[in-house]
Structures are given as structure tokens and as C-alpha cells.
């Protein structure tokens, strides 16, 4: 008789294979359960990608991805972080060239949704800095992710929400997208940034003080208005602290 370890390896090999002889009667039920369950997890995590390609195509892609990269941990909240990069290499991504970037946005959304909580920047802390504000390091909310794409992936995302109606997206003129994905409170925010604001936040996210980050923004966008951008970002509560290095 096989050992327990051999039994379990045989079952794993069978469940993840596309052919072969079942190691036990009804083992096919476990294959269906595992692949179906994990495909459903991916469908829940990538609902817009799912909608863009349709149910049958998505399930085929998801099951192929599960076989390629099965989960390595029992919590499935983060399962599929490698799915967008894998998707880029599939035939369907040649037909829908924005698809993998939409999936990347969905992965960033999921990250922000489950990320750690942090209190927003206190306006009083900012006031006490006075003129030293440019020397200060501004901490971005720990849930944040940046997503860039030559395609208007945020507009595609919004147009494919359950309550979106019949919006259309012009893929040719609305591209070159820079996004901040962040969850300061209960809701995940997708904030579209101009190139200057994007450069500013990338620099702040890397730990540069505000003055240097401002220079980065101006280098990309000579008309960049720091006060205007910071007012909007502070209102959205994307910062959690300011401190002098």
C-alpha cells in the first residue's frame, strides 16, 4: 500500500494534471472541486477581466493559470498576484491588448482592499511644520499601489462595474494612464494623476522630501501646481504622516 505521503502526492498530481488515471474512485470530484473553486476565487478577484473575456474564456484561462501556479498558502485573499503577468503571454491578450493592464489594476485594487489600516495625516501635524514642510518626508498610506498603462484602464474598469450603465471608452484618445490605488478608509479609491502628480507621489513613496519630489514633478510638467495637487490629495486622505528626516 502507498504511504500517506505517496497518496497525497498522487492526488496532487492528478488534481493538477489534464489527463491521467484517477488514483482513487471519484477523485475527479476533487479535481473539479479544486479547479472550480480556485477559478471562482480568480473570477471574484478579477471581475472586470472576467467580464471582458466572458465566462467560458475566463474559466479556461483561470484553470490553466491554476495548473501553472497553484496557491502556496491557504488564505486565498492574495491568490492571483501573478495572474496579470501570466495573462500577458496568452493569446487573448494579443486580441485585447489592454486586458493584462486591467488585470494589473484589479490586483492592485485587491491589495489595497486587504491592506493594513492607518490613520490619515492630521492637519495639525502639517501646520506645526511651517516653512520646513518642503524638507519633510510625506508618508503615503500603506495600502497604496501605482498603476501605469498606455490604455485608459481606469475608464475600462469603471465602465464595467455592475452599476455602470452603457458607458463607452475611447481606447485611442484616453490612454497614457497614471493611477494611485489606495484605501484610506473603507472604500478603495482609484485616483487618476497627471504626469507631474504621478512623479511627485512616486518620489514621496520612495522617501524623498517634498522639495525634491516637487522638482521631479516640475521636470515632467512645467505647469505643475503643487498647492492645488496637495489640496486634492490631502482631501482624499492618501497621506498618513509628515516627518522631518
Amino acid at each position: 500500500m502507498p504511504t500517506l505521503l505517496e497518496r497525497q502526492r498522487d492526488m496532487r498530481d492528478w488534481v493538477l494534471a489534464t489527463a491521467g488515471t484517477p488514483p482513487l474512485p471519484n477523485a475527479g470530484l476533487h479535481r473539479d472541486n479544486t479547479l472550480g473553486g480556485l477559478a471562482a476565487v480568480l473570477a471574484a478577484g478579477f471581475p472586470v477581466t472576467h467580464r471582458l473575456v466572458g465566462e467560458a474564456c475566463f474559466i479556461g484561462l483561470a484553470q490553466a493559470y491554476v495548473r501553472h501556479e497553484p496557491p502556496h498558502e491557504a488564505p486565498l485573499l492574495r491568490y492571483g498576484t501573478g495572474f496579470p503577468a501570466w495573462l500577458r503571454g496568452q493569446e487573448v491578450a494579443r486580441q485585447l491588448p489592454y486586458l493584462a493592464d486591467v488585470a494589473r489594476l484589479e490586483a492592485a485594487w485587491t491589495h489595497a482592499y486587504h491592506a493594513t489600516e492607518a490613520a490619515p495625516l492630521d492637519a495639525g501635524a502639517l501646520a506645526t511644520l511651517g516653512d520646513a514642510v518642503e524638507d519633510a518626508v510625506w508618508r503615503l498610506h500603506p495600502s497604496h499601489r501605482f498603476v501605469t498603462s498606455p490604455w485608459p484602464v481606469d475608464r475600462v474598469w469603471r465602465a464595467n462595474q455592475p452599476d455602470a450603465g452603457d458607458a463607452t471608452v475611447d481606447l485611442d484618445t484616453e490612454g497614457d494612464t497614471h493611477l494611485l490605488v489606495v484605501r484610506p478608509a473603507a472604500e478603495v479609491l482609484l485616483i487618476r494623476l497627471g504626469p507631474g502628480a504621478f512623479a511627485l507621489l512616486m518620489a514621496l513613496g520612495a522617501g524623498l522630501p517634498l522639495g525634491s519630489a516637487w522638482d521631479n514633478a516640475l521636470a515632467l510638467d512645467a505647469g505643475f501646481n503643487l498647492e492645488h495637487e496637495l489640496t486634492g490629495l490631502l482631501a482624499a486622505q492618501v497621506f498618513t504622516g509628515v516627518e522631518l528626516p
Binding site: 500500500m1 504511504t3 500517506l4 505521503l5 497518496r7 497525497q8 502526492r9 492526488m11 496532487r12 488534481v15 493538477l16 482513487l24 474512485p25 471519484n26 477523485a27 475527479g28 470530484l29 476533487h30 472541486n33 479544486t34 473553486g37 480556485l38 476565487v41 497553484p70 496557491p71 502556496h72 498558502e73 491557504a74 488564505p75 486565498l76 485573499l77 492574495r78 482592499y113 486587504h114 491592506a115 493594513t116 489600516e117 495600502s143 484605501r183 473603507a186
Partner: protein, 282 residues
């Protein structure tokens, strides 16, 4: 207050917070809360004020041939610390091998070697959590030729060796009885009366697989009359044990789940008491 709880589902959260229906407890899957933050933690923190919590793990792989995942066990311990649940449970099954996690509760053969291994894993878990856990009987679709224990005796021996309790899923007994020929009545009789700490009732679906009729444990349909009948027998033997109406697929409106919970409470209310008299309805 009855004896029945329901699983906490995101779509029911707002209604539960607003209406606070009478429920014995809310049950959550441990793995769905193994994140640093997020709305799910906010909801559970709020509901924790109104209801006792039961944490039901599906991913520890107590029956796995490899050592328990130390990170997973630490995450489970942190979750138990954070929410102070009344009940903590896991499964007599495996789901992880060589670092690959299969999203299923896979069966193990019931041998002496399996018994020692699972008992060690339960000991390790109870030590890490600093409390007793309940271990749930699986739904079976196949029997292993090398098994030399029957499942109920295997569970009873695990409880004796480790001090763990048993989470008795009567739907799983019903499904297994059909699929692999268990005797449901003998199963209940073989479990020690004091060991059962929670009961699950759930729905299943008949399917055909490889030309055979199989009952599939889907948690996706209402509880059947046969399962309610087995539930009545279980309560008669084990007493008014906290019971979960378990629904994980085709989630109905909250009112339908509450109605199923009321059915379970109704069965508990008319059981013969210890002195032979009928217990009073609350």
C-alpha cells in the same frame, strides 16, 4: 435564545448590523480574515460586539503528511487572540502538500499511522492556540483499501488522545453514508457523548459521476428532510449543542437563512429533556 448560528457573509453584514436578529453565534472561515486589514475586519469587529464568534479553519491540513505550516498556524493563533472566539474548529482532512495548497478538503486513509500523525497535528494546534479545538468529520466520496479504523472510531480515538472536541457535520455523515456506505446511526452511537462541541447542518446535491449517483456536499442548497432527521437523532444523543446552518454557495437572503436556523431551534425545543419531560420553548 436558540442554539443555532449562521455563517457570516459579506452581503448580509449591513442587515445583521441594523437588525441584530437573535442568533447563538456567527461563524467565519479563518482564512478569509488572514489579512492585515480591510472591510471584513471592520465588519467582524462591529458584529463581535453583538454575537459570539466561531472561527472555522479550512486550510490547516491536519491530515497532511507534511508538517503543519508554521506561518499559517501563527496567523490562526493571532486571529484567535484578536477575536476571542467561543469555538475554534478545523477538519479531519488534508489540503497542502510540498507547499502546494489545494482548495479542497481531501480524504485520508484511517490507519494507525494516520491517527498518530493527525493527533500530533492537533496537539501542536491546541498548544499554539492555548485552547481546545473541534475537529470536523469529512464528507467522503471514496474509501481507502488500507483503512483499518472506521471513521467514527478514528474520531473518537483522536478526541481521547488529544482532548480535542468533535464538530459533528450531520450533512457530511448523510453524504458519506450514501457515497461509501457508512451507517449513520452507528456513527452517532460510536462517538463519545461529551466530545461533540458543535454541529453543522447543510445542503447537498445529487450528481452523477463516472456513471454513479453521488451526493455532493455543496453547502449550496437548503437542508434536506433526511439531514434534519439525522440532526434530531444527534441532538437526542448529544444534547442541545451549538449548531451552524452552513451555506457557502447560492447564498440566499438573510431571512431564508434565519428561517433555516429557526427550524433547527424548533427541533431542539421539542427534544425530550434529561428527566423525560419536554424542554420548554423559549
Amino acid at each position: 435564545m436558540g442554539i443555532t448560528g449562521i455563517g457570516l457573509k459579506a452581503r448580509h453584514t449591513a442587515e445583521l448590523l441594523a437588525r441584530r436578529p437573535s442568533l447563538r453565534f456567527l461563524e467565519v472561515h479563518a482564512e478569509n480574515y488572514m489579512s492585515a486589514g480591510g472591510p471584513a475586519h471592520r465588519w467582524l469587529t462591529a458584529l463581535r460586539e453583538a454575537y459570539p464568534v466561531s472561527i472555522h479553519g479550512v486550510g490547516l491540513s491536519l491530515g497532511g503528511a507534511e508538517p503543519l505550516d508554521a506561518d499559517h498556524l501563527a496567523d490562526l493563533a493571532a486571529l484567535v487572540d484578536r477575536y476571542q472566539p467561543e469555538l475554534v474548529s478545523e477538519h479531519l482532512a488534508w489540503c497542502r502538500i510540498d507547499g502546494t495548497y489545494l482548495n479542497d478538503l481531501l480524504p485520508i486513509p484511517y490507519t494507525d499511522a494516520s491517527l498518530s500523525l493527525v493527533a500530533d497535528h492537533i496537539d501542536q494546534t491546541q498548544t499554539a492556540l492555548r485552547r481546545r479545538i473541534l475537529v470536523e468529520n469529512p464528507s467522503s466520496y471514496t474509501a481507502f483499501p488500507e483503512s483499518d479504523w472506521d471513521e467514527a472510531a478514528f474520531l473518537a480515538e483522536l478526541a481521547r488522545r488529544t482532548g480535542c472536541g468533535i464538530l459533528l457535520d450531520v450533512n457530511n455523515i448523510h453524504v458519506s453514508a450514501h457515497n461509501v456506505g457508512l451507517d449513520a446511526r452507528a456513527y452517532l452511537a460510536a462517538l463519545p457523548a461529551g466530545a461533540v462541541g458543535e454541529i453543522h447542518v447543510a445542503g447537498h446535491e445529487p450528481v452523477e459521476h463516472d456513471g454513479r449517483a453521488v451526493l455532493l456536499d455543496t453547502h449550496g442548497a437548503p437542508v434536506t428532510a433526511a439531514v434534519w432527521d439525522l440532526y434530531r437523532q444527534a441532538l437526542t444523543r448529544f444534547g442541545p449543542i451549538p449548531t451552524l446552518v452552513e451555506r457557502d454557495a447560492n447564498i440566499p437572503p438573510l431571512a431564508e437563512l434565519l428561517a433555516e436556523a429557526a427550524t433547527a431551534d424548533g427541533i431542539a425545543e421539542v427534544l425530550p429533556g434529561k428527566d423525560g419531560a419536554h424542554a420548554h420553548a423559549a
